[in-house]
Subunit: 346 residues, 2 copies
C-alpha cells in the first residue's frame, strides 16, 4: 500500500475490526459495539458515508462528554399487545433496536401490525439499517427519529426541527428490499460544512440567514437555519416526525435534544419509532399476488431513463465494496487507529 | 340577491341541502349522500374548494358512467385484532370510512394502534375530513390513498403516480386538531388547467413535457406528466403511498385506477389506508404531560413571522364561513341546481 495515497483500501472485515477496536478501546460494552458495527459497517459498505466510520468520533465523544453510556443495557417491556418498548438507557440506538426486534416481529405477526418505541438512545445511525432485517423478514415498515434543532419551518428563520429522517421499506422476496431513508431537511448539515471549507456558495433553498433571508453563503447558513425539503409539505412531514418520535412516545423534541447536548457535539438524544405491517394480513391473505403488482410499479419507474428506485445506488455500492473493498480517507483511518490506541501499521 | 353578481352567498345549511338534493336527484342512497355531505360541506366551509361542491359533477358522472354505485352498502369485516376492513363495493369513500370508524377506534383503544383498510371505493374527498373525527377522539392518525396516474417519478417523463395524498393528524384537546393533508404531486392538476384557460405559463417544477423536459407550457404539461413535490424525496413518498394504499391492502395502483376509468373522467377507484395511534399507550400513560411538549413545538412555529401551522388557514376560513356564509360561483350554482332538477329560484 502506497503511503502517499490519500485513501486506504480496506475489506469489509477490516472495517468491522476497526469499528470494534475503536469502541472497545473507549469503554463500550461488546454488545453495544457489535450492534453499532452491524449498522455502521453496512453503511460504509453501501457508501452511505454520512453514517459510516467517521461517526465513530462522535460516538466516542458522546461517551467521553458523559452524554451517553457505552455499556448501557436496554430494557424491553410491552406497552400493549401491539407495542413493544425499549428503554435504551442512554446507550446507542442499534442495540436497543436489535433487542426490541424479536418481540416486535412477534407482535406484528400476531396482530397484523406492531410498533417499536425506542426511548432514551443516542441516534447517529441510518434508519434503513434498522429497517432492513424487518423488511427482509417479510414486513412493510416505517421508521422515524428526531434530531437536534437546526432546521427552520418553511417561511420562518429559527431552528425548530432536526434533520428528522423518515424511512420506509417494502419486502421483495429474492431481491434486495426496497428501502428509502431521507432527511426531511433539504440537505445534511455536513454538506453545508463541506461547502464552507471549500469556499463554495451553497445552492438557494438549503438554508436561511439569521434574518430568515435565503442565502448562498455557507457561514450565514450555519449561523442561521437549514430549510426543510419541499417547502411547506416537507415542513409538515418534519413536524409529524417530531410529534410521533417525540411527544407521542414520551421522548424529546429536537429543541430539547439540542438543550440536552449543551454544545457537546454528541449524537442526538431522544426516541425512535418503528411501525411494522404484515402485508399478508393487510391484504386478507393475498400478499403473493399483490407483490407482483408492486413489482409492476417498480418496473414502471426503473423502465424510464433518468428515473431510479431509492436504494438502488446503495445496493450497487454494496456489490462493489464486497468485491473491491472500501476506500477510507487515510487521515480518517489514522485518526480512528489513534482513537483505538493503535499505531498506523499498514 | 343581485343576479348580476358572479357569486352567490349560501349558508352552511344551504350548501348541505344543495349537496343532498343533487345526490338524491341522481340516484344516490340517503346513506351515501349524507356521508358525502359530511365531508364535502366542511371542505366548502374550510375553503378547501378542490374537495368542495364542484366535485358533485364528478360524483354524478361516476355513477352515470357506471363506474360507481351510488347506493352501495359498505361491508365491514375484521382482518386481525388491529385491522378493520371495509369493502366499499364501488360506493364512495366517505360512507366506507364512517362505517369502519367505530370498530377501528375500538381496535386502537384495545391494541394501542389500529388500521382501517378501505377497499374498492371511489375517492374524491379530502383525507383531512376522514381524519378529523378520529383525531378529535384523541388519537394520532395517518391516512393515504392513491389516484389515477398523472405524475412522473423524479427524473422520469411518464406518469406512474396519482396525486397520492398523505395526511397526518395530532389531537389538541380544547383546540382544533392539528391536521395536514397534502398531495405528493408538486401541484393539483386543476391548477395547471386553470393556467391553461388563463393562457398563463406554469412555474418550472410543476410538470414535464412528453419528452421529460421541464416545461412552463400548460398544454405541454397536460400532455406530459406532473412532477412530485420535493424531487426524489417526494417521489419516494408517493411510492410509499402507492404501495401501502395499493398492493399492501390488495387494491389498485394508480395506473390500474386510470385503466379502470378508461377515460370516463370519474373519481379514482381504489383503496384508502388509515393508521391510528393511541398516544396514551405509546407514551406509557404520560400523554397529558406530552401534549404540553407538543404545544411547545407548535408555539415555536407559530411564534415565527412568516411560518404557520398547516390547517390554520382552513380553520380561519371555517370561522368566516360559519359567520358570513359561503360564496359559490353563480355559474357552478346554476349547474348544480340543474343537476338537482331544480330551476334557479334565488
Amino acid at each position: 500500500m502506497d503511503k502517499t495515497e490519500t485513501e486506504i483500501r480496506l475489506t469489509v472485515g477490516d472495517v468491522e475490526t476497526l469499528v470494534l477496536d475503536v469502541l472497545g478501546a473507549n469503554g463500550f460494552s461488546r454488545a453495544q459495539a457489535e450492534a453499532i458495527a452491524r449498522t455502521m459497517v453496512p453503511a460504509e459498505t453501501d457508501e452511505s458515508r454520512s453514517h459510516g466510520v467517521y461517526r465513530l468520533i462522535g460516538y466516542v465523544r458522546s461517551v467521553k462528554a458523559g452524554k451517553a453510556d457505552g455499556k448501557a443495557e436496554p430494557v424491553v417491556t410491552s406497552l400493549s399487545p401491539s407495542i413493544v418498548r425499549v428503554d435504551g438507557s442512554r446507550g446507542f440506538a442499534p442495540l436497543a433496536a436489535e433487542r426490541g426486534r424479536p418481540l416486535l416481529l412477534d407482535a406484528a405477526r400476531a396482530q397484523g401490525m406492531g410498533a417499536l418505541v425506542i426511548n432514551t438512545v443516542l441516534h447517529n445511525s441510518a434508519l434503513w439499517a434498522d429497517l432492513e432485517p424487518i423488511v427482509e423478514a417479510g414486513f412493510a415498515a416505517i421508521a422515524m427519529t428526531a434530531g437536534q434543532s437546526a432546521v427552520a419551518p418553511h417561511g420562518g428563520s429559527k431552528p425548530v426541527f432536526g434533520t428528522d429522517p423518515f424511512a420506509f421499506g417494502w419486502p421483495r422476496p429474492g431481491k434486495h428490499p426496497f428501502i428509502f431513508d431521507f432527511a426531511t431537511s433539504a440537505i445534511a448539515r455536513g454538506e453545508i460544512e463541506l461547502h464552507r471549507r471549500a469556499g463554495k456558495p451553497i445552492p438557494l433553498g438549503w438554508a436561511v440567514d439569521t434574518e430568515g433571508n435565503p442565502t448562498t453563503d455557507a457561514d450565514a447558513a450555519l449561523a442561521g437555519a437549514m430549510l426543510p425539503f419541499g417547502g411547506y409539505k416537507g415542513t409538515a412531514l418534519a413536524l409529524m416526525v417530531e410529534l410521533m418520535a417525540g411527544p407521542m412516545i414520551n421522548d424529546l423534541i429536537s429543541s430539547e435534544a439540542a438543550a440536552a447536548d449543551g454544545g457537546a457535539g454528541s449524537a442526538p438524544l431522544g426516541g425512535e419509532l418503528i411501525l411494522v405491517f404484515d402485508p399478508e394480513r393487510f391484504s386478507a391473505g393475498t400478499a403473493t399476488a399483490n407483490r407482483e403488482r408492486a413489482e409492476q410499479l417498480f418496473a414502471a419507474i426503473t423502465g424510464q431513463a433518468g428515473a431510479r428506485l431509492p436504494g438502488d445506488r446503495r445496493y450497487a455500492a454494496r456489490r462493489r465494496s464486497e468485491r473491491e473493498g472500501i476506500l477510507v480517507p487515510r487521515a480518517l483511518h489514522a485518526e480512528l487507529l489513534a482513537l483505538a490506541g493503535q499505531a498506523e501499521t499498514r
